[in-house]
Amino acid sequence: MTNISPLLISQLNKNQINVTNGTQNNPKNNSGTQGGIKNNTQNNNYHEQIYQNLKRTANTVKPNQPKAKLVNEGMLGNPITATKDTFKDAKNFFKITATGKASDTDLGRINNLGLKTGALIIATFLASRAKTKTDAIMQFVGGGAFLAAMSLWPKLFINIPARLVHGFRIDRKYISAQGEKKDFGLDNQFLVWDAYPEEQLRKDAKRAGIDYDAKNGKEKIQRKIQKTMLQNRTLWMATAGFATPLATALFGNFVQPHIKDLVVKADFNRAKKALEKNPINEQIKNCKPIVRNEKEIEKLIKNSNGVLDDDFFKQLAQLLNPTDVIANSENRVTLEKYNSQNLINTLKEIQQRKVKIDTDSLKELLKDAKITSGLMGEEISTLSQDDINIIISTFKTDSSERNLIKLLQQNDLGDDEIKRILNGVKKDNGEFFETIKEFNKNIISDLRGKIKKYIDLADTVFASKAESMYTNEYEKSMKSLFDFLGFKRKLSKEPTLQELLEDKTMQASLYGIMNNDERYAQAAFRNAIEAKLGDAKYGSEKYNSIIKKLLEFKGQNKKELDKFFEIFSDLENISLIKPQEGEQNIEIKKLINAIMGSKSANSSLNATSSCSNISNVIKSFIDSKKIDLESGKIKAALVTNFETRLKDGSLSNLSPEQINFARKILYSTTISDALTYTNASHKQNYWDVMDCILKDENNFRAEKEIMPEFSEITKKLHVASEHLDNPKEEYLRCSSFSASLKKYATTLFNSKTWLRKFGIMAIILVAVTLLIQPLFGNIKKEFSNESKGGNK
């Protein structure tokens, strides 16, 4: 039974061919009304009539219009449509799971969605484990760059060059008859040419050099488009594996320093805002005073009548400290042993408001420090009253070890004996100082708790962590220094240290600095500076220009740092102790000095500052840090200054040993322990050298013109060198110059080798993809055997 279409039925009806049921007579021959056709003559022409009808109407029946259409999108894509598509994908996901109806393109697009969610999960996980904030941010940047590179690589390096070389686009998209958006050339054997309008084909043929109207013109252009699309798609598959990781790595490498700057600035601003909400003065005013009630102390002393029990000390300790420091019986014993008499005397003085110290009290002071026991007992008695007075006066007001040693030397005391004195003072007071360390610690922790926001701000600037402004500044200044000096990455023949010292024109490389010790770094720096200076003398134009460059190497956070120092200089003179009339602060200072001894054990606090005055404490802390930061910047200038003055001959009064000593101090500060404590003549040497280098302001007149604070810094450094127990720790505290040179040279070398390797790979990849493009789309062979002319 054949299917009769409605069209034919309508035609039949029009010609009024009646179809009726069979009649009563059912003849077997063909004549009659079998089949329901009335007219006998039409029986034979049944099929012919149908044919005639069709012939008449065939040309009016046409196939349906194509529903597929090209999409008008640019070559770089549209982020708005991309986001819309991702939302559609998410919607489709839920629709498919709910209804169970899907098309293959939708399912393929959901894979992209999964990839993005997976990338997000990985990025958040790795960011939570990151140790610094920049690392955490870089995870997201890297993930985003990966996904962007996957989509941008074909667009920028394959589609655009193809358009420029061949004249037509290979990245067309169309919307199919079912309403799905697909790539035009996704399947090589199923190209929907219905969607490609003819005008566009003509344009493409014209640009590609094909005559559309000639024979096979349309086929040629279609075949050319198909072929280029296929070839470029395989190229994409071949290069995508190389391109996306390289692009993300190189992009991340470029972006990371900028993100670090932003993070540092954001931290600083955040801490500053928190501080502006709660200014320091209000915080300090609400602090509890250390000495709660002096009247109670006086009562306690009155009631003791000279009997020093455990109870006495416990009560005294509680009155003096907010926390129970001296509660341990052993510590109480040390307190009793070493300073009981002193303490009582000073307390008595406070009571009587008298200040008087005699030889007796000095003797007792030294006695308390056990200096009389077998070390120096007899020699003290040989000192005259004047000497003792001088000792007392200096020991009281200016507790610098330097002057004490000078005095003792003037009294013909030998090195060994001086050493024993100093060791005795330190050793026997060692246990005591530990209790005072606790005392200090508690004060400081108390302070830190109360002024935490203040300390936070200081930490963002000065802490030795990776993301403080301080390290950022330092790294940037080192970077610009290295750019200026221009070391090469690696030389074919690395010079040795001897060669560098002998031949001043030889230059070292980063590889050499990395693999050798600090002396090599010193020599490398010297040679590099001499190459720049040439024969320039101190004060000449060339010297000034070089010094200018060296001093201008700073980071970009100068404004913030200036604001920071402004904040800290606005402190009022606020003390923890309740203010009373007159000279109470001096007495309390004396009291605390009596307890703590002549020096504080905590070297970060200035020795002569009293804990009663927070502003002094903080100021001294900040001053020391300021010196650190600024000295870090001017180290290179100091060193050049020294070297040129040496060459000019203005430092001729120094012996060669002293010159080496000076070099050591300026470059590395690795003064061995033998020099610090035992050998006083070495110490004398040290101070003489420092005087020679740093004291005279005229030595820095060229630098002062460029940076007015230069002389102040050198003054501070000079002063700091005097209050030293351990010059290794205090002077130029922010790491030695040569160590930092070596460290930065390693990082620079590492980054340069990495970039070299993978940058070359990236360049080769890009070159190959661009150069292979003109070889695509060659259809000459396929159409080579078509006849020119001849029968059609």
């Binding site: 996980f125 395989t234 990495w754």
Partner: protein
């Protein structure tokens, strides 16, 4: 009533003779027609290797020449190559430049490279594991073997200058497409190998709860497989990335920082070494000193621990991921959240397709409601 099976003429008579056995006729059929082949546990690996080797030697050259015979299957199998190259390059970016660094930097960067490598490897393993778990679960509850493959015989057009076209083999999956899965091949396979056209459909209807065999099980089976396929493909394409992310998270743990070669023995020997250093008193001169230094000699015997060390590290990393860091809230609970979400996603990818799979006898009405109006068309 029993199921009546009408097999079609899938095994045409050959020209050899009417006494040819069914085996020979089958082999003749298999030589030229696409068919489902017998599969074992390694058939997936075989297909993957076939794809990879063909990628390098045939599909890439064909694509670069622009032949008319490159089809969609070849394009999809080319997608393996950038995945492998990209993974290798990601690892190399962290490790290739290390040999130039000094000792301290080398050690620290080697640790990072190892965690990165472990992350990359576990990414792929996570995806594979997810697929294995869900496919076996679906096979158990619905009877659809999603890993089934068939041999596709492609008769290619002759290339330019040649008279004949080649016949290539491909190994696509039967259920690759959700709307046009190869039910015709399943029917042919049922007829040829199992004597019943509805062999594979019966399995599905049996799992769907029909106790007796149906007359036309293919109608119900096709409908059900279409729904199951759509759902599982959608869920799979999202769920496998959760497993992959867990793999990367595992790889970044500390346990993988020390994975490496393990040697059986070290031999200690003392060797005199000449050391030069500067004299602190006279800084221009150099002093030399002979120093006895221990020399560790690694014997080249790799112990079995090198093979087991990655697995040990995996177990430890699992524990570390579960415990997390006490640094903040996120690090404490993220590992646990990841592992639990893995389990939940695997469970959901099994559950959602199988919810509507079993027929509910109560929904099928056998009686006509007399009060309701029906339309007869």
């Amino acid at each position: 009533m029993e199921q009546v099976v009408q097999n079609g003429p899938k095994l045409p008579k050959s020209d050899i003779g009417y006494l040819t056995s069914n085996e020979d006729r089958k082999n003749e059929y298999y030589a030229t027609e696409s068919h489902i082949y017998k599969q074992g546990p390694l058939s997936g690996v075989n297909a993957g290797l076939h794809k990879l080797s063909n990628d390098i030697f045939t599909y890439f050259p064909k694509g670069f020449q622009g032949s008319k015979n490159s089809d969609f299957y070849e394009y999809l199998s080319l997608g393996m190559v950038p995945y492998i190259i990209g993974s290798a390059l990601l690892i190399a970016l962290y490790s290739a430049a290390n040999k130039h660094y000094n000792l301290a930097d080398k050690a620290s960067s080697a640790k990072v490279a190892k965690t990165m490598g472990a992350g990359v490897v576990l990414y792929g393993l996570g995806k594979w594991l997810f697929k294995k778990i869900t496919h076996s679960a679906i096979k158990g509850s619905t009877g659809i073997d999603l890993d089934m493959r068939y041999i596709n015989k492609v008769n290619e057009l002759p290339e330019h200058g040649h008279q004949k076209g080649l016949v290539r083999e491909q190994y696509p999956g039967v259920y690759d497409s959700a709307t046009f899965f190869r039910s015709d091949l399943l029917a042919a396979d049922g007829e040829i190998n199992h004597g019943n056209v509805y062999h594979w459909d019966d399995k599905i209807t049996q799992k769907a709860g029909f106790e007796t065999k149906l007359y036309a099980p293919n109608q119900i089976a096709n409908e059900k497989t279409r729904k199951v396929l759509a759902r599982i493909k959608a869920l799979e394409n999202v769920g496998k990335y959760i497993f992959a992310a867990t793999g990367v998270a595992l790889g970044s743990q500390e346990a993988f920082e020390n994975v490496g070669k393990v040697f059986t023995k070290y031999a200690k020997k003392y060797v005199t070494k000449r050391v030069t250093f500067f004299d602190p008193d006279n800084l221009e001169k150099m002093k030399t000193l002979d120093v006895r230094v221990p020399k560790f000699k690694k014997l080249s015997k790799l112990s079995l621990k090198t093979l087991t060390s990655p697995f040990e590290a995996l177990g430890k990393a699992f524990v570390q991921l579960w415990k997390g860091d006490k640094k903040n809230l996120i690090t404490k609970y993220y590992g646990k959240a990841l592992i639990l979400s893995c389990a939940i996603s695997a469970f959901l990818t099994w559950l959602i397709p199988t919810i509507g799979f079993k027929r509910n006898p109560n929904t099928i009405k056998t009686k006509i409601d007399e009060n309701k109006k029906y339309e007869v068309c």
